[in-house]
Amino acid sequence: MAQPQGPLETRSPWPRIGWGVTILLAVASFALGFLVVSRPQQGGSTFGVWAAICRGLGVTSDTGAALELQPAVSVPSKIAWTSATLKAIGEGDVHNGETVALICAACHGKSGVSGSALYPTLAGMEAVTIYKQLDDFRSGKRSNGVMNAIATAITVQSAADVAAYFSSRSNGMPPPHGDPLQGGHSFREGNGAIRLVFAGDPARGIPPCTACHGPSEIKLGAPRLTGQQPAYIERQLAAFAQGLRRNDINEQMRTVASQLTATEMHEVAEVYGTGLSAHATEAGSAAAGLESSDVQR
């Protein structure tokens, strides 16, 4: 004979089963829905528990305690000019570096003088500059398939050694005091390219190239440019202007290069690469370059 039972009667197994299963299912689905499914967000980050519950309820993030998406820390270079860095570069061994430089010879030329417009001359370049570029290639801050692979393959010590070796070579770039490009040119210089190199363009906020790249002054980490492959210089200017190269620590090259016209880039590279004399007679074309920079402004 069936016993009369209320919904909470527990003598028959069915109320126990019914309530037990219901509570189990409810707890499980709520836990999954509010603590698991609601947590992940786009970009791999997750909400905290309270924020996930708010999201599960459909309370929007501006009223709930949602975590803000934090941008990843991004730096143009991993090099910082600390005394430790400079000490490490200073300890580079020229003799070892000569052995390491055998790797470089195929492209950068025997003993670091490049015979190709594609590759820069390294002989005579400052050790800190070479060391920084190798470090940027190693950390992926500067992009070049071959150089990324080589910089990753050699040790940090080898990088310091090879930098010391190339800087000690005198057959490539001229030493500071023997530079054929000499200062003394002013804003009244008729040739636009030469004016840019020696005086800059204050109206566009462009400082003179020589302030960092010689001959008058070499800033820490900046490469000497006199005698460098002009096509290489021009290509680097274009890369900075388009943001393809981003390892200038204070964005100074990206700021300057993005304001230059294609003609200006070409002529500035020619001034550094082939020397002042080649340009003294081409005032006309440089003036045209200046005009186009006016238009750009």
Partner: protein, 557 residues
């Protein structure tokens, strides 16, 4: 006492007439709705269609949906319920007068709905999502139709309770237990749409309010929208458990499994409707997931039923001399429409069920949301698996109600086969078109567009299926009408399948609904309390309504 016998005879006769009238409204409107459905398929296909008019298309979709989803199902379930109450309890229905009043109210509601749609002032589709606004006649009619069926709900519960009082300690017969579960399920389900109609839509159409809280309305409708599907399904499942084993000449594998199945449908079909709103912004991911997860649980009673049903059929096949692992299958009486229908129904239930798991899945729904895939799914499950059982039940009951034999079992079998083939030819291409991105509820497609071009052949194929379905529907009505005018023969009482172990005593929990309704109430408060409650203290989604007129939708004044 001849007088008492005569009165009882009249009363039983009355119960029969009640069932017959309900069935006739259901099937009488079914045929024109199929005609509309076929025309709609032609209209949205690359083929030329008569009355090529988008306004007519949306009116037609509304009428087709309203008739199939509300009228056919509600009237069929009510008629089936009255027939079951009278035959399974073996006594006339208590409250027959109230039943006739309910019938009249529902019929009045149906006529109001139909008139409003035909006049072109209610092309809001059968889900009538605000801010689309139909005429007051449509909402009023829907309220009468659904509200009127609550009389049936009360009568089913009353008849079961009265029988239990008169037969203390005895188990309620499974058919009666199941139809009462259906009645409770429908009461819970209908609460959502009734509150939406009475609280939001009717006040707006009567001019008592200016704005419509569309999100609240959608959420309330979701309470109804999924459980209603199980309300449609339940008569088919009742036939699976109580009529199919009998028709196959066997016994029901387990009475307890039957009770558990209907209890689980009552519990698990209700707190799940948010899975229709997975793309809606007004609900958070948490409750969407919770209801999505609960939706998966209807797999349990479904698989239990497939197991029970197959076991019962195996018992029948072996009783008829079937041997070996599968040898019982050919021994089944396939000439019986009921046995054929259950096999065809299970195939469609299986295919449609797998599609449904994708619809209800929080992760996968986005692929097919609002595409032809969804239309394909519910046509396969409801229009296929469920409605084919409605046909079989009609073929089974018609002779018992009218006292006239079925005109031809062979014709009935062909009709079932055609319906099955037509439904597959219609819905399989729809599934594919949906995956290819064809949206549902769109009147006109430009099939010359590169994205639409590859879909066109599938749509044409589905039109062929639609024509097959139309032929089958015409055959159904022909069979039923012709059976009405046959020669009256000796009546055969409707018999329900006996269980292998007929229940002598069952635990009270499996013989009543108090416990299960308490569980449903707790589940509903847990899963719908916040999603509905938030609109009253957190969010306001009231917007101006868009009045539907025959020309074009314009902003209501």
């Amino acid at each position: 006492m001849p007088l008492k016998a005569h009165l009882e005879g009249c009363a039983v006769n009355g119960s029969r007439k009640l069932a017959l009238y309900h069935y006739w409204v259901a099937f009488g409107l079914f045929l024109p709705a199929v005609v509309l459905g076929t025309w709609q398929m032609l209209m949205r296909s690359p083929l030329p269609a008569p009355f090529d008019d988008p306004d007519a298309y949306y009116a037609s979709v509304t009428l087709h949906g309203s008739v199939m989803a509300y009228v056919l199902t509600t009237f069929f379930a009510m008629g089936f319920g009255y027939a079951i109450a009278a035959t399974s309890l073996g006594r006339p229905i208590r409250g027959a007068n109230a039943a006739w009043i309910g019938f009249a109210i529902c019929l009045l509601g149906t006529l109001m709905v139909a008139a409003a749609i035909v006049s072109g002032h209610a092309s809001v589709l059968y889900t009538f999502y605000p801010p689309l606004l139909a005429s007051v006649w449509y909402y009023g009619g829907a309220f009468l139709l659904i509200g009127g069926s609550m009389i049936w709900v009360v009568l089913m519960i009353m008849n079961m309770t009265a029988w239990k009082r008169d037969n203390p300690g005895k188990p309620v017969p499974l058919p009666m237990f199941a139809i009462t579960a259906t009645a409770f399920l429908w009461a819970w389900a209908a609460s959502g749409v009734l509150i939406e109609l009475a609280g939001i839509l009717l006040p707006r159409t009567l001019g008592w309010s200016d704005l419509i809280d569309a999100s609240l309305a959608r959420t309330l409708f979701s309470v109804t929208l999924h459980a209603i599907v199980y309300f449609w399904l339940m008569p088919a499942y009742i036939a699976f458990y109580t009529l199919v084993p009998q028709a196959a000449g066997g016994r029901l594998y387990s009475d307890t499994m039957g009770r558990l199945t209907f209890i689980m449908f009552l519990v698990f079909s209700l707190p799940v409707g948010l899975h229709h709103l997975l793309a809606d912004p007004e609900h958070g991911s948490g409750f969407k997931f919770v209801q999505s997860a609960l939706t998966f649980l209807v797999v349990l009673p479904t698989l239990l039923t497939v197991f029970s049903l197959t076991s019962s059929l195996e018992i029948a096949g072996r009783l008829r001399g079937g041997r070996g692992l599968l040898g019982w299958i050919p021994k089944l009486p396939w000439q019986e429409p009921m046995v054929l229908a259950v096999a065809l129904s299970l195939v469609m239930l299986g295919l449609g069920g797998f599609g449904g798991i994708i619809n209800m899945s929080y992760a996968m729904n986005a692929m097919i949301h609002n595409t032809a895939w969804v239309t394909a799914h519910f046509h396969l499950i409801f229009g296929g698996a469920v409605v084919i059982m409605y046909f079989a039940v009609a073929y089974e009951m018609w002779p018992r109600i009218t006292g006239r034999p079925l005109v031809s079992k062979a014709l009935a079998r062909s009709q079932l086969w055609l319906w099955f083939i037509g439904m597959l030819v219609t819905t399989i291409p729809w599934h594919i078109a949906g995956l290819m991105g064809q949206p549902r509820r769109v009147a006109i497609f430009d099939y010359s567009l590169p994205l639409m071009k590859p879909i066109a052949p599938w749509v044409v194929l589905s039109v062929i299926g639609g024509i097959i379905l139309l032929i089958s529907a015409i055959m159904l009505i022909t069979i039923l009408v012709r059976s009405h005018f046959g020669e009256r023969v000796l009546e055969q009482p409707l018999r329900y399948a006996l269980a292998v172990n007929p229940p002598q005593r069952v635990p009270e929990s499996l013989n009543s609904f108090g416990l299960w309704n308490a569980i449903v109430a707790v589940l509903m408060i847990t899963s719908y309390g916040y999603p509905i409650g938030q609109f009253f203290f957190l969010k306001d989604h009231s917007v101006p309504a868009v009045q539907v007129t025959p020309q074009s939708p314009t902003r209501a004044q």
